[in-house]
Symmetry: C2
Subunit: 457 residues, 2 copies
């Protein structure tokens, strides 16, 4: 929960910096709101929990536990937005949402209750709304990549995998060490799909009434924790980036008989010094032996451990041990805070590079279903594909049969329609399972796009 | 919502300082948990919302939307607590809870969904649990009184007004300017009433298995906002203490033709200077005239307004205006941050003293129902009362008929059993409605205690 609170703080800060204001809407949504947008209600209805009783009595109207809150926000946007001077309107709420997941649930990854942030924005023009989608991606980078060292790729989801009610959905996938992709934030361009049924109009500067364009952005807080655990963790436990570590530096005194006092004093002094620098420091002066303490705090993911023994007192140094690499160094007392900040930065850089190398290095071209099947065991397959419109769904189903999911086109990447390049591999030129390497990897028909395929959580 | 976030921050900080750790439990509680403590389930059942359907289907087991979370926490405390070394266990969660209120709901005061914090603590001994109750009162003082200037009195609630399932309930009441009392945090000593049905036992240092003693503490976040609005606000709008003001200082430039540039530059410089000091400062450089800006930011409760015109530029000063008193003063540029902090402190002191004087000054002794009726129109009546055990409930009902509620005995106050003192007033000695002034104000029987009566939200 402490990590979750830190992640919220970072994400809320990034949203507020870009002009979002915090709000909170009720946990329940009346059906008449919920049912306003056809695709949305059809998509979410199978997952909605309903509150139907209070005390001993049936409620006159049953109420939906919010699975997402577009239809709560938009009822108020209808009232709040009158003029172009009210735009853009950018609000977010930090809350739990509820979905009756039928797939196997997994802690932090897929739950029937989960913590997230949802930002709902309204704009005068399509252009501004699309710029918001790009800004949502920037915010994602600032939090996941810059602060937490988690790499990701924003894919434009195929039409059959869009958020229900969205015109377009862009979702950030990150590769987990087991070779599966975890969807992290997604951002959606709704065009006027919600503003029309909710009648959200504004008087423009030209005097005409127009419908707003809306977007929504959903950073999943629990899944971010899941990504931190899986992407950076190792066999000894968590490895936390400095920014979200509840304890950033742990001090373990190394006591020798008769010299306890000097060590204890130095430990306390360092707690004070680091505390004043705003570092979250913990002195473990429990009765456990140092080895047990190392084991315990490594499991908790504390980025830096300081070991302080009698010799360190006389030499005016401490021994700093990095959680990510295990490397040790002696640091002079007077340089400590400064050096710890450097180690923290370097740890983050190392975690990020390691994860990014793994993810980017896992991407391999595939020309056949068989190749896809092999590649997605550990990573991401890049393939020619007929279409991400509804016409391509049948081919995506074929890929699903061998365990892969079409995650979409790589947003902002200038992918050739032929990922195999001008000289297909021998394997492909043999074309041994009847697939045309220059066409869709499944049907062989003219490929309109390059898509990425992986196994998914 | 920004004020709410600040209040959460202050309260969570105060709880963590006293050893509480953040957690989060599910929003739903299965009936077998919820029904574990008899008084608790009987007390809350009339108010519980039930989730009974998901998708199109009935759930096998209907689930209670948490009205409070003792029965969620204790299921886990049963698993987490094994030994005396696991104690005390002190956790809190910041969340919304849900109660089907049947009295008229009021924004921020009585809602079917409301934000609060709930701390649930377990101890080895009754003594430690009772010390926690006292510590909860200290935490309340630190937040409400010290940081927000809201005075309160902790009353020990009569047995008929306890939290359902509690052995004892202590609740902080604050007087609103309309003469009604608003209940703010409450803290409950549960003895072993929950630990027995939930089988929460620990092995003590003497080797024996014992049931823990538990307490809970519930700071209401929305009601704290309500108290801020009502206690400190005036006819021009909110008056916010510095600690929770989203904008602490607003700068309004006073522009004269030809001298705009120097003023604008000074304003920007001051934004930078104050920002670096960690002050939340807002420059209102909109097109509205200064009067409109004053009006707007006063309504929002901004504690300090700075007016900067051409003369202030040449004199090296700014004009600071206090929201609470409206008083103006010239402050030298180089003293600004320091002086603003003083004004903020002084504002808080003034708000606190004003509210405290009103509340404490409203307490008047009453010897008859008629006197109570008069006193509770604007304040709090202090009366002799037969008993706060069940035997006194009939007398409390009589008081209710004239609009007053028995709020309980003043915790920690050494009240004489005869609040009228040794020489009853003439009015009372006349005893004109048959009440024995030295006995219970209602039944005239021997008074066991002095209680306080008020109208309540």
């Amino acid at each position: 929960m402490k990590i979750i609170k830190k992640i919220y703080e970072i994400w809320e800060g990034a949203l507020e910096e870009k002009g979002h204001e915090p709000v909170l809407f009720p946990v329940v949504i009346p059906p008449e709101n919920f049912e306003m947008e056809k695709e949305h209600v059809e998509g979410f209805t199978p997952e909605v929990f309903w509150v139907t009783e209070a005390g001993g009595d049936k409620l006159t109207v049953k109420l939906a536990l919010r699975p997402t809150s577009e239809t709560a926000f938009y009822q108020m946007y209808n009232l709040w937005i009158r003029s172009y001077t009210d735009l853009p309107l950018k609000s977010y709420q930090s809350c739990a949402v509820y979905r009756h997941e039928t797939k196997a649930t997994k802690p932090l990854v897929r739950g029937r209750e989960f913590l997230w942030i949802e930002a709902h924005d309204a704009f005068a023009t399509e252009k501004e709304a699309r710029e918001q989608v790009a800004q949502d991606m920037e915010i994602t980078k600032k939090v996941l990549y810059d602060a937490l060292g988690i790499p990701f790729i924003f894919f434009k989801r195929p039409s059959w995998d869009k958020f229900k009610g969205a015109e377009e959905t862009y979702a950030a996938d990150s590769l987990m060490p087991d070779g599966k992709l975890l969807q992290l934030p997604s951002t959606h361009y709704f065009a006027q799909r919600f503003s029309k049924p909710f009648d959200i109009k504004f008087e423009d500067s030209d005097g005409n009434k127009k419908y707003v364009h809306t977007t929504s952005y959903g950073p999943p807080i629990w899944r971010t924790v899941a990504a931190l655990v899986m992407v950076h963790g190792d066999d000894r436990g968590l490895v936390l980036p400095f920014a979200v570590a509840p304890v950033q530096v742990v001090i373990v005194p190394i006591l020798y008989k008769g010299k306890e006092k000097a060590v204890a004093e130095k430990c306390k002094k360092i707690v004070d010094v680091l505390g004043r620098e705003g570092i979250r420091v913990k002195l473990d002066d429990s009765d456990k032996n140092p080895g047990e303490k190392y084991y315990y705090w490594e499991m908790k993911g504390v980025p830096i451990r300081l070991e302080i023994g009698p010799r360190d007192v006389s030499e005016g140094v401490v021994v700093a041990v990095r959680r990510d690499t295990g490397s040790k160094e002696k640091v002079k007392d007077e340089k400590l805070a400064e050096r710890l900040t450097e180690i923290a930065d370097d740890t983050l850089k190392n975690l990020r590079e390691r994860a990014e190398k793994r993810m980017m290095g896992s991407i391999k071209k595939a020309a056949t279903l068989k190749e896809i099947e092999k590649i997605v065991e550990t990573g991401i397959a890049k393939v020619n594909f007929c279409s991400t419109d509804a016409t391509g769904e049948a081919c995506a189903e074929k890929i699903k049969e061998i365990g892969g999911e079409v995650r979409g086109t790589w947003f902002g990447k200038d992918d050739d329609v032929n990922p195999l390049g001008s000289s297909p591999t021998t394997n492909v030129s043999r074309n041994n399972d009847g697939v045309n390497p220059k066409g869709c990897v499944v049907c062989g028909k003219k490929a309109k796009c390059v898509v990425y395929v992986g196994r998914a959580y």
